[in-house]
Symmetry: C2
Subunit: 366 residues, 2 copies
């Protein structure tokens, strides 16, 4: 087995999920994630944890959902009991076909999702972490050769997370203490209010309230937005390519939108509900192991030298105790490249210029 | 997909497990059983049952057990809760390597098994059924080509179970009402007392107290044995070939034993404990879909025109209420061919001659 599979497993178990002896662990295994599951099982055995592996096959799900009449029982007792009694939930993605459930009606999928709200909430109460094993299917989605994609994934995951967490802590402090963010680049001039909001140092560990491996972003929840932003990093939403999305905000609300490609899907998103016209997230990608777009949001939004904004729902972790942030049925991330001819400033001070942060040697001048 | 996979799934769900709408079902999926799992998932969806699929990979188990220090926690809460809240437990065997856990120390395996007694008991309280998906690994164990083995498995499983259950009921009645069984063939002359014992019509359905698919045997628990029996159907026990085992009984106890091959393993079994010297089971194979030995006890003991006897533990279902049958740490089945020059009689009446039962046209004369 590729030794990187074992390194991945150890980072997942030790850094990300902080598994201890006696922990009850659910290991959710996608169809193509067998090798990673074997390495994780070995690590869990070594830590003295207790393992139940679930088989989260898209083809099984498709068959089940297509067979069903869509009148789903709410939170089936056996699955709820499994998750409620789990300390840790590790999701190993990596299927064999990213479109394996393409012929399941979306109403069926939504009904199934709604019926499992309690299970989902119970899972969020565990120390949960999502990661992916590089499969040929994901390589294809990324437009890459298989071995090239493996290198890409391990470059993103096998990092010195302790050191990255320390670097990201600097940015978190700046955002926590700051009131106003200004993003400037060609065609983009956007002001965001972050006064009173708390940033999350998303360092790929439950100890940092961060549940994705890889991670590597600092994010917060803007309270207000003014100006225009162009998202020049392409992405696929609902099987549709979105290219050069342009949003204009007044008093925090989208007043104008356009896209070079995929504008009808953009329109659907923005018009979902009132909250979909407002921002739920400002995220700053800091994982330099991710150096290209692969059309997988788990990776793309953490890409070094990018900033992303999400329209829709805000994360509670960013809000003052008891305050309700932006509410919406959607949370759609859009990404803009900050590597050239761009600045990100907080309260008038340039924090990042052309991709470099002010604490980096590559940061030039004032 | 081979249409027989869907037929297999339907028999499993409807005939064997009697799954109803709202049932909570655990589907345990071996590494090679994906296709059957997909078909079962579809059937479960159609029935309106609730599905959790577990991934019962031998390679995962091996990695976990080898990583562990063998001080296992007793009945981990999440797995126990899953099984305790399940109505139905379907085990789909079919691995990719029957010796995948060969390098796990047997003490580790035993310690793991002991730590999970409560989970095992909870599983026995569900409507559980074990079946197998034909894999290349199982074909190899059977010494057969892959497609040949698929035909073999589906011949054994895709039967008219209702009709076989009705036929087996006739034999159950004879055994329930009978006192003494006599088996005669070359080198075999064995008398068994079955007075007061109850036979199980093992028709591959939980409604018949039968938990294997395929099944197709009627079995009871002999109280006494006298005489000699030769088991001419070879089998593998503890990775050792057993050939032509000969047992001689006096007052129900083995007083002499020998084997043309594997005598040392036979000795180990017989000398395990006092109960290992007595019989726990008389089983009569009635599944004519199984027409050859494949070195897999799930199939071999149900083979039509064979009889098997097990030394060791008896099943409670065969005993009068409150009575304790033969106790032992072992239950080892041994099989003898009844297809030629042989008779099985109950209370002096020949019930089976040369493989044919007295109610069959092929049963010749008195």
């Amino acid at each position: 087995m590729d030794p990187r599979v074992h390194e991945h497993a150890e980072i997942l178990v030790d850094w990300s999920a902080r598994v201890a002896a006696g922990d009850t662990v659910v290991l959710s295994v996608a169809e193509g994630a067998h090798d990673l599951a074997v390495a994780v099982a070995e690590a869990l055995g070594e830590r003295g944890a207790n393992l139940v592996a679930t088989y989260d096959s898209d083809e099984l799900t498709r068959a089940y959902l297509r067979g069903h009449d869509s009148e789903f029982d709410a939170d089936p007792a056996h699955e709820l009991a499994l998750v409620e009694n789990a300390d840790v939930y590790l999701r190993l993605g990596g299927g064999r076909n990213t479109t394996a459930t393409a012929d399941v009606p979306s109403e069926t999928r939504q009904a199934y999702r709604r019926a499992r709200t309690g299970i989902r909430e119970a899972r969020m109460d565990t120390d949960w972490v999502s990661t992916v094993h590089p499969t040929r299917s994901l390589a294809q989605q990324a437009g890459m050769a298989y071995e090239q994609y493996q290198d890409f994934v391990y470059d993103a995951i096998l990092r010195d997370w302790e050191s990255l967490a320390a670097e990201m802590a600097q940015l978190k402090t700046i955002l926590d203490e700051g009131s106003e963010v200004h993003i400037e680049k060609a065609e983009t001039d956007l002001w965001l209010s972050i006064d009173g909001r708390t940033a999350v140092n998303s360092a790929a560990s439950v100890d940092y309230d961060s549940h994705n491996l890889p991670s590597g972003e600092v994010f917060t929840a803007p309270a207000d937005a003014e100006g225009t932003v162009v998202f020049d990093v392409p992405m696929t939403v609902d099987a549709t390519r979105l290219q050069d999305v342009r949003l204009t905000f007044e008093d925090g609300e989208v007043v104008d939108y356009a896209a070079a490609q995929g504008e009808s899907v953009l329109k659907e998103i923005i018009e979902t509900d009132a909250g979909a016209r407002r921002l739920g997230e400002l995220g700053i990608g800091m994982n330099r192991g991710i150096d290209r777009v692969t059309d997988n949001i788990l990776f793309d939004e953490k890409m070094g030298e990018t900033v992303h904004l999400a329209v829709g729902r805000a994360y509670d972790a960013c809000l003052p105790e008891g305050e309700t942030g932006n509410q919406s049925a959607v949370h759609t991330d859009l990404i803009t490249d900050m590597s050239t001819e761009s600045t990100l400033s907080v309260d008038g001070e340039v924090i990042q210029r052309d991709g470099s942060f002010k604490w980096e040697d590559s940061f030039g001048g004032i």
